[in-house]
Amino acid sequence: MTIALPAVLDTPAAAALRQTLRDAMAAGGPVTLDASAVERIGQACLQVLAAAEAAAEDAELDFRIVGASPVFADMATLAALDTLIAA
């Protein structure tokens, strides 16, 4: 399942992102997130993504973030969460 991440992933967007990721995990298939449209992202959403990455690992699901936009890649690197974009 490929999910396109929205442009704005600020703190208020974190709850919806968490729900989306939970639903995707519950569906059981590999999860691919398209981060090409992300223009803004903060800690709240990054930590939800990190939690999802950990959850996928536990559930042995394939979890990938693809096409990271410059902002996404920049912020993930800044927060030393490069594992999110390493795959």
């Binding site: 703190t11 974190a14 939970r22 903060g42 800690q43 930590q47 939690a51 800044l78």
Partner: protein, 719 residues
């Protein structure tokens, strides 16, 4: 306090900082090259940079960084502050002001590319050759000779990285754990991380230990923490300043203590190199996209860049006044609270007056407690008003920029003289005087001053002078805008007024009356409408704005020698000393500041003039007698001057004698605005509540005497 409110404070401090910088520039231009002055400018820019980073205004931050770099070179003596360099610094200041305004209003940042280039050229262009020369001897084995500062910096980076252990071990270690409340009030911890990297920091690890499972995670709670390493060369204050606007407990800052044992020789060589180049710290922290090389620069650490955060009760003031060492402690107060206080004190004054009246009615008016109370009330009122007082400096500090822009637009050369900028006046006045003042200054430069060649031909200096002054004069503040230009061309003004149908072709007008024609709506004498001024919508609006503040505007002009516009404004709009008089069944207050004397005239002192005009002989000078009752339509008032009291007042248009029935009292009254509560009435300046609870109107002496003035000139013509 949420992030918006903190940001609001930041922008207020930016304003203060910019104003302080403008003051510093004036000192620099006057030849005062005191290191504290340039330090003052540096500190302001540095503070703005810090705040810009904290609130994510990246363009502003990037711009201030470049600006700061140049200023740092100047303050540490690497660059000499030549007039040309000062021009760059001042020019950059204008762009900075635009940047701040854009960041505050959420507008597009100004185009700063050209200015950034000038800043870089000024900073790099002048230092590079010196750097190369100085670098040559020390650069022997490790670093090749280079005449390019950028290359030098990148080489520094390479070398420093190869010695990674040394500086990292000796540098700062920062633990940043924003905790569960990381996003409170809209905060974004990543912006602070970003700022740390701008300082040369490197985020080494992200601690996810607290991060719960996806099921358990609370989206609005923070769980991450970071370890950041920063070069030893970064000042502790600079690191702490990043967290200035937040909770200081989220960081733990420690200094690595390992000896920089490895490859000491090559590091020493670098130190020598840097010493000889005297590269300032600001260049070393250049924000290259990958974390910059943690160069252990022994260059002069930023001196007095930031005061220790812990010591401050209030957020850091961005405007340390030049050489003002012991800064007065201040707090910021919400203006609403202040206004409530002012209002309450006003009510207290009224209540005190009522109490005095009641006690007097019961023959207890003389008790000493009452006079104590009156004394205290008045002192309390003055103190309250003083809280609202602000120096005119906040307005005047914007003027140099206006002048600079006008010079650019008109090609004229202007010297600005400012006097009395510390004169204090009520905040409302300060806030609302800016626009009219700007207009007057634009007029002075655009219409008043001549082009340099014309001035020289007329035997004047090529540089025109605009003088701006503020002073207290008998309970009012007088602000003057004067120029030494061509003065008002009265023949042209009159011709224009006739052409516009403002006056009749055969009107006989005094010079003063002609000057005042420029305040007529729709009047403009500019031969060509310019961008600067002269759309003919100016001076009438200026006068209206001044009048709305309870002020008057006067002109003095001498053809060929210049014009002077003086604005006379009340210090506070809230209280005035007045004489309480009776006219018919009404009670009026006549402001004491206008009263010259009061008298009950003899028949011989009165002369009739025309059908219903009367003149009062005041020791040889004739002043018109004005019946307030006639002007304001009051019935039952005394008509016979010999049975009434005449109060001689001085207004904008000369003296006049106001005819009233009796004088009741003289006391301080609290002004209540008629405009705010009802509507403006010509001849009435406001209202007040008297001790007995009745409302009394405050006479607008200027409006009344201006009618008298017209009456006299008409009569004089008839005679």
């Amino acid at each position: 306090m949420d992030l918006d409110a903190i940001q609001q404070i930041f922008f207020q401090e930016c304003e203060e900082g910019l104003a302080a910088m403008e003051g510093n520039f004036a000192q620099l231009r006057d030849g005062d090259r005191d290191s504290e002055t340039i330090n003052g400018v540096f500190r302001c820019v540095h503070s703005i940079k810090g705040g810009a980073g904290a609130f994510g205004h990246e363009r502003l931050q990037a711009y201030t960084h470049q600006y700061e770099t140049l200023l740092d070179l100047i303050r540490n003596g690497t660059l000499e502050l030549t007039p040309a360099l000062l021009d760059v610094v001042v020019g950059a200041f204008d762009v900075l002001a635009d940047h701040v305004a854009a960041a505050r209003d959420g507008d597009t940042p100004p185009a700063d590319a050209a200015m950034l280039e000038r800043l870089m050229a000024a900073a790099g262009g002048d230092t590079a050759p010196a750097a190369a020369k100085a670098a040559a001897p020390a650069a022997a084995p490790v670093v090749a000779i280079s005449d390019d500062f950028d290359d030098l910096m990148s080489m520094l980076g390479d070398v420093a990285q190869s010695e990674d252990g040394a500086d990292a071990a000796n540098g700062w270690r920062l633990r940043f754990a924003p905790g569960a409340k990381a996003f409170e009030h809209g905060a974004e911890p990543l912006l602070l991380l970003r700022e740390l990297t701008m300082l040369g920091g490197k985020v080494t690890t992200c601690d996810r230990a607290e991060l719960p499972t996806l099921e358990a995670i609370e989206p609005e709670c923070g769980y991450l923490a970071w370890d950041v390493s920063l070069p030893a060369s970064v000042a502790e204050d600079d690191i702490r300043a990043v967290f200035e606007f937040g909770d200081p407990s989220v960081i733990t800052l420690t200094r690595g203590d390992a000896e920089p044992a490895m490859a000491e020789d090559s590091v020493d060589a670098l130190f020598d190199l840097l010493d000889s180049v005297a590269a300032p710290a600001a260049i070393v922290e250049e924000p290259t996209p990958p974390p910059p090389a943690p160069a252990p620069a022994p260059a002069p650490a930023p001196v007095a860049v930031a005061e220790p955060v812990e010591e401050k009760a209030a957020p850091r003031s961005a405007a340390p006044s030049p050489a003002a060492a012991p800064a007065a402690q201040t707090i910021r107060v919400d203006l609403d609270k202040l206004d409530r206080l002012v209002n309450l004190v006003g009510e207290l004054v009224i209540t005190q007056a009522m109490l005095a009246q009641r006690l007097a009615e019961n023959q207890m008016g003389g008790i000493s407690e009452l006079s104590d109370l009156e004394h205290l009330t008045r002192e309390l009122q003055e103190s309250t008003m003083a809280i609202r007082a602000q120096p005119m400096k906040t307005v005047f500090s914007r003027v140099p920029r206006i002048i600079r822009e006008l010079e650019g637009e008109t090609g004229k050369r202007v010297r600005l003289d400012i006097e009395g900028e510390m004169t204090e006046v009520d905040k409302t006045v300060v806030e609302r005087i800016g626009e009219p003042l700007t207009h007057l200054i634009r007029n002075a430069v655009d219409h008043g001053l001549e082009m340099p060649d014309v001035r020289v031909a007329n035997g004047k200096s090529a540089e025109g002078v605009v003088r701006l002054s503020a002073a207290h004069q008998s309970g009012r503040i007088v602000i003057t805008v004067a120029d030494d230009g061509q003065g008002i061309n009265r023949a042209r003004v009159k011709a224009k007024a006739i052409e516009k149908g403002i006056i009749l072709p055969d009107a006989v007008l005094s010079e003063e009356e002609i000057d005042n024609l420029i305040f007529a709506p729709g009047f403009s004498t500019a031969a060509a409408i310019t961008n600067v001024s002269g759309r003919g919508v100016g001076m009438d609006v200026v006068r209206k704005n001044i009048q709305a503040l309870g002020g008057r505007i006067g002109i003095q002009s001498r053809e060929g020698f210049g014009s002077s516009f003086s604005l006379s404004l009340p210090l506070t709009l809230a209280v005035l000393d007045g004489m309480i008089v009776t006219v018919g069944d009404q009670t009026f207050v006549i402001p004491l500041s206008h009263i010259v004397e009061s008298l009950r005239p003899d028949e011989v002192a009165l002369s009739r003039l025309g059908p219903d005009g009367t003149l009062l002989d005041v020791r040889g000078a004739y002043v018109p007698v004005l019946r307030i009752a006639d002007y304001l339509g009051i019935d039952g008032a005394e008509r016979n001057a010999t049975d009434a009291v005449l109060i001689v007042v001085e207004g904008d248009h000369g003296q006049a004698a106001l005819l009233v029935d009796t004088i009741q009292d003289q006391r301080q009254v609290v002004v209540k605005s008629l405009e705010a509560n009802y509507q403006a009435i010509d001849g009435v300046a406001g209202a007040t509540i008297l001790g007995d609870g009745r409302v009394a109107l405050i006479a607008d002496v200027d409006a009344l005497t201006s009618r008298g003035g017209r009456f006299v000139s008409r009569s004089a013509l008839a005679a």
